[in-house]
């Protein structure tokens, strides 16, 4: 896994050097701050409800953050031709995908950590526990990581960065609304589609409310693994084309 570490370090450095990454960071923090001020804080509400509202918005922005941090990862390398260096080096496709995923994940964790002042403000003025905050952040991390893996797969799929972003967005919108779609159906299809929804069931029904379920964690890990695997297989197929 030495190559994973080498690619991870390069990618993380690329985030730090890239103005685009800092624009995304600023945008993410700005939008979260605005939503917090405009929708979360106003009105007389229980502090637990305020925290739920915060995590609802923060979960959605984590979704977007994951996609924005990942859609360029492979597509850009193809556009700038630097992918040839990786393709002609003794590096496995899984090492490329995992290295890039972990770098994006690290950058995302830093940005998520920078939002911690908002739940801390709620905790200072209300009656919520640290574990509620922790579970919410685990959920944001899971949602964001799933979006990262989906964006990375889309990036591996096509050379055009804009198209990669669109494919990633469509996948996220579809997978994130399966529960709502399923509610119009009946029987087993409704149950199955509802259970594989990316946002409403596992995040809003669990992490957002401070409930830590093992099945929710396993679900997100499975989604992440599935899309990373798809990314690896896509790279494998395209590497020799």
């Amino acid at each position: 896994m030495a190559a994973t570490s080498i690619i991870y370090r390069r990618e993380l450095g690329a985030y730090v050097r890239s103005p685009f990454a800092w624009v995304i960071a600023a945008l993410f923090l700005f939008v979260n701050g605005i939503l917090f001020l405009a929708y979360v804080l106003p009105g007389q509400k229980l502090s637990a409800v305020v925290l739920e509202l915060f995590f609802q918005f923060a979960g959605l922005t984590s979704f977007g953050l994951g996609l924005l941090l990942s859609f360029r990862l492979i597509a850009e390398e193809r556009t700038t031709h630097s992918m040839v260096l990786l393709n002609t080096s003794p590096v496995r496709d899984s090492e490329i995908i995992v290295g890039k995923f972990l770098a994006a994940l690290t950058f995302m964790i830093i940005l998520l950590a920078l939002t911690i002042y908002m739940p801390l403000l709620i905790k200072v003025r209300g009656k919520i526990t640290g574990s509620q905050i922790l579970v919410g952040y685990i959920g944001m991390l899971m949602v964001g990581s799933a979006a990262l893996s989906i964006g990375l797969f889309a990036s591996a799929l096509v050379k055009n960065q804009f198209l990669a972003a669109v494919i990633g967005l469509v996948l996220l919108v579809v997978l994130g609304n399966l529960f709502r779609f399923a509610s119009t159906l009946e029987g087993n299809v409704r149950t199955v589609l509802g259970d594989i929804d990316l946002f409403w069931v596992h995040y809003m029904g669990g992490f957002m409310r401070g409930v830590l379920n093992l099945k929710d964690i396993i679900y997100y890990l499975a989604v992440i693994y599935f899309f990373l695997l798809l990314g690896v297989k896509t790279l494998e197929a395209k590497r020799w084309q």
């Binding site: 030495a2 190559a3 080498i6 690619i7 390069r10 450095g13 690329a14 050097r17 890239s18 700038t80 031709h81 630097s82 992918m83 040839v84 260096l85 990786l86 393709n87 002609t88 080096s89 003794p90 590096v91 590497r239 020799w240 084309q241």
Partner: protein
């Protein structure tokens, strides 16, 4: 050694290469010559393990490219048409990354770095972000990443593409330096580029090998008519022209002398010959106490050979 047998590549239903077979000995510098779309880049990308052949076999250093591409990748350094650079990285950081990704230790890279920067003349920009460098320097960075791990085989696809004349001369010198330690494969559609840097040529046209050999071998048989341009300082008069033409026609192997034209302060005579008789021509001119300014032969000969080979490919299709 590189050994290709019946190598073929299809893009969809369209054949881009092959079937072609060739062998390249260790230490050779071989030029892949051909017009655009001849299959040069496809052949080199297959050799570099960037492209899987549709049929045929290819071995690099005794290792099958399809069966064990990772092992082959360790042995090769590849500069594609567009250098695979990261514009945001500094030159030394990028070369360190390129070395590490090929399995070198940091210590080994540190020891090798100075030599590679010397070879590619990148010392002055070693701490600069690659994105700020000129095209010529970026091309050099591309070469540097290809040699950082000291590969046995070096594959350079159009290394002088987009360079200005000064940069082209510098790149030629760099390739000459690389020939000392590596088996070098270069592709180009520029005849002079190939003739000045390569030991042997492999002429491709429409995906087929049209000819393999040294420049002389490709130029053809003894009976073939060749042309030599002889420029002599002399007044532009009928007497002088006739006298010089007579001297040139007296040389063994000269078949005909065309009407001269003024060039570079002298008269240029195109001499048709049946063999390479440049030495005899120069001796005859000097022996007749004429001022020889220029004797030009090789470029037009290679061009003729190339056009003949490529023309044959076009004609056969």
């Amino acid at each position: 050694m590189i050994r290709a047998k019946d190598l073929t590549k299809f893009y969809g239903g369209k054949r881009a290469l092959g079937p072609v077979s060739f062998e390249i000995e260790d230490g050779e510098t071989v030029g892949f010559l051909g017009l655009n779309g001849a299959g040069k880049t496809t052949a080199l990308r297959i050799l570099a393990c960037d492209l899987r052949p549709s049929a045929g076999t290819i071995e690099v250093g005794g290792v099958d490219v399809v069966a064990d591409p990772h092992e082959v990748r360790k042995k090769i350094g590849f500069l594609p048409e567009n250098p695979p650079i990261y514009a945001d990285m500094r030159v030394t950081d990028y070369l360190t990354f390129a070395g590490e990704i090929r399995g070198m230790t940091k210590d080994a890279i540190r020891k090798r770095m100075s030599g590679v920067l010397d070879l590619t003349d990148l010392h002055e920009v070693s701490d600069e972000p690659i994105g700020t460098l000129s095209h010529g320097f970026r091309q050099r960075v591309g070469v540097a990443q290809a040699v950082i791990h000291d590969p046995k085989f070096l594959i350079l696809d159009e290394p002088t593409r987009g360079l200005d004349p000064v940069q082209i001369v510098e790149m030629r010198k760099l390739i000459h330096d690389l020939k000392e330690k590596h088996t070098v494969l270069i592709s180009s559609h520029i005849l002079t580029e190939i003739s000045q840097t390569c030991d042997r040529l492999l002429v491709l046209g429409k995906g087929r090998v049209l000819g393999v050999g040294t420049e002389g071998e490709l130029a053809g048989k003894e009976s073939e008519i060749r042309s030599v341009t002889v420029t002599i300082r002399a007044p532009n008069g009928d007497d002088a022209k006739g006298q010089i033409a007579k001297v040139l026609k007296s040389v063994d192997g000269v078949k005909d002398v065309a009407e001269p034209y003024e060039q570079g302060g002298g008269l240029a005579f195109t001499v048709m010959t049946t063999k390479d008789c440049r030495a005899d021509v120069s001796r005859a001119v000097v022996g007749a106490k004429l001022d020889l300014i220029k004797l030009d032969h090789s470029k037009s000969e290679l061009e003729n050979t190339f056009m003949r080979l490529v023309g044959g490919a076009d004609g056969s299709n």
